[in-house]
């Protein structure tokens, strides 16, 4: 689909909105301060997707990870530009997160399943740091203040958590490559 979008196929663009709209909207809601911001961000993200579709390389990951990467870049950029405003006033409350279990995560994407397995190996406080930082866009300083945790600890948890996920993804990828 992304290759068809890159060639300017209007039908593919409509399919893209239908297929990825809920994913983009989900990410935008959590990384935006207001519903209005989330809607504006969603429109910007789709423009980015259409403009970047030609770069999608299936050997580098799934389409959903590609979309999520584009969405995260745009949303982080927007959050930075509005960082003079009060801390997060999220569209969603923080208690609504439910990590997927590996089975259902696999339905989302192989990477989501890998991430879920990696998260399961982290301590609860480490997962919480990743959750606040990656799903709700809090800065490391904001996480430290909110959890009453030293900034160095937050950095350490974020680092270990991301590296753990990265390891799971790379190990799996290398496993697939070696099997192939």
């Amino acid at each position: 689909m992304l290759q068809r979008i890159a060639s300017g196929d209007p039908a593919a663009v409509r399919e893209c909105i239908e297929q990825y709209g809920p994913l983009v909207w989900s990410i935008a809601r959590r990384l935006s301060r207001t519903p209005s911001d989330a809607e504006d961000a969603t429109q910007e993200i789709f423009l980015d997707i259409w403009r970047s579709a030609g770069r999608f390389d299936a050997s580098q990951g799934s389409d959903k990870v590609f979309i999520a990467m584009i969405a995260r870049r745009r949303l982080i950029d927007r959050l930075r530009k509005t960082s003079a405003e009060p801390p997060m006033d999220p569209v969603e409350t923080l208690d609504t997160i439910a990590w997927a279990d590996p089975g259902t995560a696999l339905e989302t994407s192989i990477e989501a399943e890998q991430a879920t397995r990696a998260l399961a190996e982290l301590r609860p406080e480490q997962r919480q740091v990743l959750e606040l930082g990656l799903l709700y866009g809090l800065s490391q300083s904001e996480i430290a203040a909110r959890l009453d945790m030293p900034l160095g600890t937050v950095k350490s948890f974020m680092r270990r958590g991301l590296i753990k996920v990265r390891e799971f993804m790379n190990v799996d990828a290398e496993g697939v490559l070696s099997e192939g």
């Binding site: 663009v13 930075r80 409350t93 989302t108 990477e111 680092r159």
Partner: protein, 293 residues
């Protein structure tokens, strides 16, 4: 994924910068520092971290449907984007620009530190807390709307956003939200005032609910919310925003916009201040106060 991965590992400082870049963005100074360090190894590592962050995002996404009106706007936006040959040519250029952007992560500007200015206030006999200072962000706070925009200004197909009253009701229903009764003070402007606060410590959202609060002329004065945080120096209450009470309004629900994270809310207060709010409150007019204890 490892087919073209360069050999070697980035050093610790670079990893810290890369993680910050993919999770919250870098300041210009940090970006310059990373540019100096940046190598092919760093680029590959950043790509891996971005993929990891995206994977975690996917694992935590609930993927609810978009609002229909937003989907319609996207379809319209798509039609405009792809509709003409001129736009198709633009698409090619834009695609090239998009490619460049994907390869070169954004370098957003860091906003000025909003927590830089602290104000102190001497003596305040009327408050329960022995507070002598107020903390404010440098710029006067934007007024907090007491009511949502009229539905008539919205396109017919766009569902109206929840009103503050509806949001407050939802927050009240949460078992872990904090409920605080507000009492009127002896200030003449406080006569007959009753109210309460509901506050969610986790999301840092909350609402004031008032009955009997006098209407104000925003050109003359405005009401201002303050939050006393037991996790901070008592002399530095957190600014919660300014608001107005329209004429002929019996009850108002005001969203609280805390300028700083409130770790342990101990008390909420409302003062009367000059238009735009006070950087350093004189606290001559404290109209309501409530403590969590």
């Amino acid at each position: 994924m490892s087919d073209t991965r360069p050999q070697g590992q980035p050093d610790e400082a670079m990893v810290d910068l890369l993680i910050k870049q993919v999770t919250e963005g870098l300041s210009p100074a940090e970006q310059r520092a990373l540019d100096v360090l940046d190598t092919e190894v760093a680029s590959a590592y950043r790509r891996d971290l971005e993929r990891a962050a995206a994977a975690v995002t996917l694992a935590g996404s609930d993927q609810k449907p978009m609002p229909e009106a937003l989907a319609a706007r996207l379809a319209q936006q798509a039609a405009q984007h792809f509709s003409s040959s001129a736009q198709a040519a633009d698409l090619g250029a834009a695609r090239a620009a998009g490619e460049a952007r994907i390869d070169q992560p954004h370098t957003p500007q860091r906003a000025a530190n909003r927590f830089g200015a602290l104000g102190w206030l001497a003596a305040a006999a009327c408050l329960v807390l022995a507070v002598i200072g107020w903390e404010r962000s440098p710029a006067p706070p934007a007024p907090v709307a007491a009511t949502p925009p009229p539905a008539a200004v919205l396109p017919a197909e766009v569902p109206p956003p929840p009103t503050p009253a509806e949001e407050r009701a939802a927050l009240l229903a949460k078992s872990d939200s904090l409920k605080v009764s507000l009492g009127a003070t002896k200030d003449p402007a406080a006569a007959g005032v009753t109210g309460d606060v509901v506050w969610d410590p986790l999301t840092q959202r909350g609402f004031l609910h008032f009955a009997g609060l006098q209407a104000n002329d925003p050109a003359v004065h405005q009401y201002q919310i303050w939050i006393f945080d037991a996790g901070r120096d008592k002399r530095y209450p957190v600014d919660g925003g300014v608001f107005d009470v329209p004429a002929n309004t019996s009850e108002v629900v005001i969203p609280i916009r805390a300028a700083l994270i409130v770790r342990k809310p101990a008390a909420f207060a409302v003062t009367v201040e000059k238009p735009g709010g006070a950087v350093v409150s004189g606290r001559e007019h404290v109209v309501a106060l409530g403590t969590t204890g």
